[in-house]
């Protein structure tokens, strides 16, 4: 397990815990790749048959100084060697990852290295292997499939002139964009009118003080959500949406499994299903002929025509198939595809390409003024910005407020005792927060969960982003800490 903290998962499941300094993932991964190559543990057969650029990677990796890696990352070399060997020698090696490794300015680099690891060891294209993002939302995969990403139209077709024309023909419209749209933070910082659906950037976006400035400066803000979130409080118009038990539709899980959810209760008050709301806004804009659905099933039928991977899936099939259907499912008779890349990859030549990636440190390092590294994340009792879990009594009572997790030695030097208030400052903002002293985190690093409105970790975080995808570096920024005032 690669994690700066000893989490519940580490305690229960980890055979080896690589407790690294936040932001040094690429160094650890490059070291693991080097170890596998040095010890001859790579899968020669797989590399020969299904990859290219192995020699390039070998040359790059030969320059890595493992002692230096140990210094940079704080991970003992013997643990790096042991994990590399264990992964390479496993009958089935599987990588599960998520925001811990992607929410960095080198997030996409980190993923390239994970890809290198599975190509090197042949642990991909077979059941129980691969590089697998866990995702934050139940249908995060589904949203991506539908094209809710700035660089894709539905079905992962790249945004360009050709794709625009394809969908213009399909939908009978004109002037679809041929250029990629804006990413999340760009929308918040540069747009003047924003229509938000199920997102709470006041808590989830980095550098909350600036987010507030941006949102308060909008000409018009519409928020569609199931509860009055911190962001909805700033909206000009709030459109109440129905929750998952109050609607019929599908979710697509991280394993590309499409499954059906059914309506169990009526939505309260004026809350409506998301599609109904969007459809009626479109009708108000004069597009009744294009937005003319009677049910979510109508929309799903359209999805089948737009997204070839979904073409063989239907509500009827989903109702009969327990556990859903994995896309790609190109036709009605097709059983679905639980494992992808069994024969070739989605590259022009069908091969896996090794990519050499240098380690780059995070945007902000600790220094005299801000001597601690803050990393943010989650606690098991809350989900994301807490809009649902902070309204659930049992969960709220477990964790009603944020805390800052500090190593006992650091706490002693700061003269802060457990449960005392601390004042935490970064270049972006200031937070007054309760301490939780714990040996589960490394010295010099502190942790704050981001689920809370009043003690909002993102007031402190750095909006610096990965140039490839603009993912903000939530996981690393520099802070200073001092004892709070006695009150």
């Amino acid at each position: 397990m690669l994690d700066p903290r000893v989490t519940a998962t580490v305690k229960n499941l980890a055979d080896i815990h690589l407790q690294l300094k936040p932001g040094t993932d690429a160094a650890v991964l490059n070291a693991m790749i080097k170890v596998i190559m040095d010890e001859g543990l790579e899968n020669e057969q797989f590399i020969k048959a299904r990859t290219v650029d192995y020699e390039g990677l070998k040359a790059f990796v030969s320059n890595i100084d493992l002692e230096e890696v140990q210094k940079i990352t704080s991970v003992p070399l013997d643990k790096i060697r042991a994990s590399a060997a264990a992964f390479a020698k496993a009958a089935k090696g599987c990588i599960l990852y998520d925001e811990g490794i992607t929410q960095h300015i080198t997030g996409s680099d980190n993923i390239k290295l994970l890809a290198n690891l599975v190509l090197l060891t042949g642990h991909i294209g077979k059941p129980g292997t691969g590089v697998n993002p866990m995702r934050g939302q139940i249908s995060g995969e589904g949203s991506g499939d539908m094209g809710c990403v700035n660089v894709f139209y539905p079905g992962f077709r790249r945004v360009n002139k050709e794709t625009a024309e394809h969908f213009q023909r399909l939908w009978g419209v004109e002037n679809l964009p041929s250029n990629p749209g804006k990413t999340f933070m760009d929308i918040i910082n540069t747009c003047k009118v924003i229509y938000m659906v199920g997102v709470n950037p006041m808590i989830s976006a980095p550098d909350s003080n600036n987010v507030r400035k941006s949102l308060e400066g909008l000409d018009f803000l519409v928020v569609q959500d199931i509860f009055m979130t911190e962001t909805a409080e700033l909206a000009d118009v709030v459109l109440p949406a129905a929750t998952w038990v109050e609607r019929e539709g599908t979710h697509t899980g991280i394993d590309r499994r499409v499954y059906k959810i059914n309506k169990i209760v009526e939505p309260p008050g004026q809350a409506k299903q998301d599609w109904w709301i969007t459809m009626n806004i479109a009708k108000q804009m004069g597009f009744s002929d294009k937005f003319n659905y009677n049910s979510s099933k109508d929309i799903f039928e359209e999805i089948r025509t737009c997204i070839p991977q979904y073409a063989g899936i239907s509500y009827e099939r989903l109702d009969k198939t327990i556990g859903g259907i994995h896309w790609p499912c190109p036709s009605e008779g097709h059983p679905g595809t639980p494992t992808m890349f069994t024969e070739k990859f989605n590259t022009p030549d069908g091969k896996g390409h090794f990519q050499s990636v240098e380690y780059k440190p995070p945007a902000e390092s600790s220094d005299r003024e801000y001597p601690f590294i803050l990393t943010t994340g989650r606690v098991i009792f809350h989900y994301h910005t807490g809009s649902m879990t902070r309204r659930t009594d049992n969960l709220y009572s477990e964790a009603p407020e944020a805390f800052i997790q500090i190593h006992p030695e650091d706490a002693r030097e700061l003269k802060i005792s457990n449960g005392e208030k601390a004042i935490v400052r970064s270049r972006r903002g200031r937070l007054e927060i309760k301490t939780r002293i714990s040996p589960d985190i490394i010295r010099g690093v502190v942790f704050i969960p981001f689920h809370f409105g009043k003690t909002n970790a993102n007031i402190l975080t750095n909006p610096a982003f990965d140039p490839a995808c603009k993912m903000p570096e939530f996981k690393v920024c520099a802070v200073n800490i001092e004892k709070g005032d006695e009150k």
């Binding site: 519940a8 305690k11 229960n12 327990i322 606690v379 098991i380 009792f381 049992n394 009572s397 477990e398 964790a399």
Partner: protein, 400 residues
Amino acid sequence: MKTGELYIGISSEKQIAEKAEAGGVVTSLLKFALKSKVVDTVVAVKKGKNRYEGILSFITEPEEVEECTGSFHFATPGIAKNVKKYLDTYNKKIAVVCKSCDARALIELAKIGQVNIENILMIGINCSGTLAPVPHISMLRESGTDPYKLIYEDIDGDKLILKFDGAMEKIFSLNELEEKGLGRRRNCQRCEYPIPQMADLACGKWGLNGERGTFIELCSTKGKKLFENAVSEEVVEIKAASKEQIKRRKQEEAKKVDFAKTRQKADFTTPEDKFYWLSQMQACIKCYGCRDVCPLCHCKRCVLERDLPETVEKGVIPPPPTFGMIRLFHVACYCVNCGQCEDVCSADIPVSALGHYLNKNATELFDYESGVSMDVRLPLSAVPEAERANKSTELKAIKR
């Protein structure tokens, strides 16, 4: 008729007798109980979309009872808990189709006033054990069989018999499956009550050796009365069970009890590592699943929702190991080894084994067997004379 007598019966309603898995006696008795207003509601399991989906149903229309015919070995709804939660047995009369664990749980609940046993007619069903659906669906799929074509399953001794649409049949050895972690739920493997004699009637087919019909034992006055009336109203046709059939039934029971005892020995042995249970509890994520499904949990305000440092501390994962164990201590005397807690545990902790183990210890210490009779009083609330006469401070088992 007298309590304790055994009969072989078959439904007098021809369509039921033919359609039913074993002659439809239970179906007909339940219909009769509703029609003659002996009960207002029948609690039974309906088949869902397939053999893996059992839907616990509260039925008031006699005809609807026919949708519950058959034993669904892959469906294990928490019957006692739902009866306690959703039915007012102080004001309504119900009939419940139950396995021994369900009947025993209802009896324990009745002892603490959570249900009214006077208004519960328990039609007990012999049980060889139930199976978790998901691992077996996977097993069948991996062996190239469509699991959803299953139309019938049965357990006969060591054999798990699966019949599929298209006249295909597969037979597995339970022993072999259970060595691999498949087969019956672990608590079922430890169960020493295959025949539910604590219910009002105990129905099954052991001893019949393939003969069509149902063996019925009249376990209580209430059960005998219903049965007598059903027979005189010609709802079921009966004949007396032969000595040979009764003997075979007893032998089948004995075999299962012996097997259960060896499983108990295996599951209850304290491992070398005396901190085994403490480390098992490390996986707990406070989902409250075990507490929510346990039929015997009944406190209005549950101690597990409090914030007590080092015992049920809030905001900490894993919680102190006492979090998972407190419930087991609280229900130790009552635990009926229903296995629901282990079924729902998000962290795959074998809590049912620990609960059952504690119950066995309590049984020995207090000479108390849970769920076998209303007349066996709760050890912590009923003090027998012998115990009152004990002037010493030594804790030793006193015969009740």
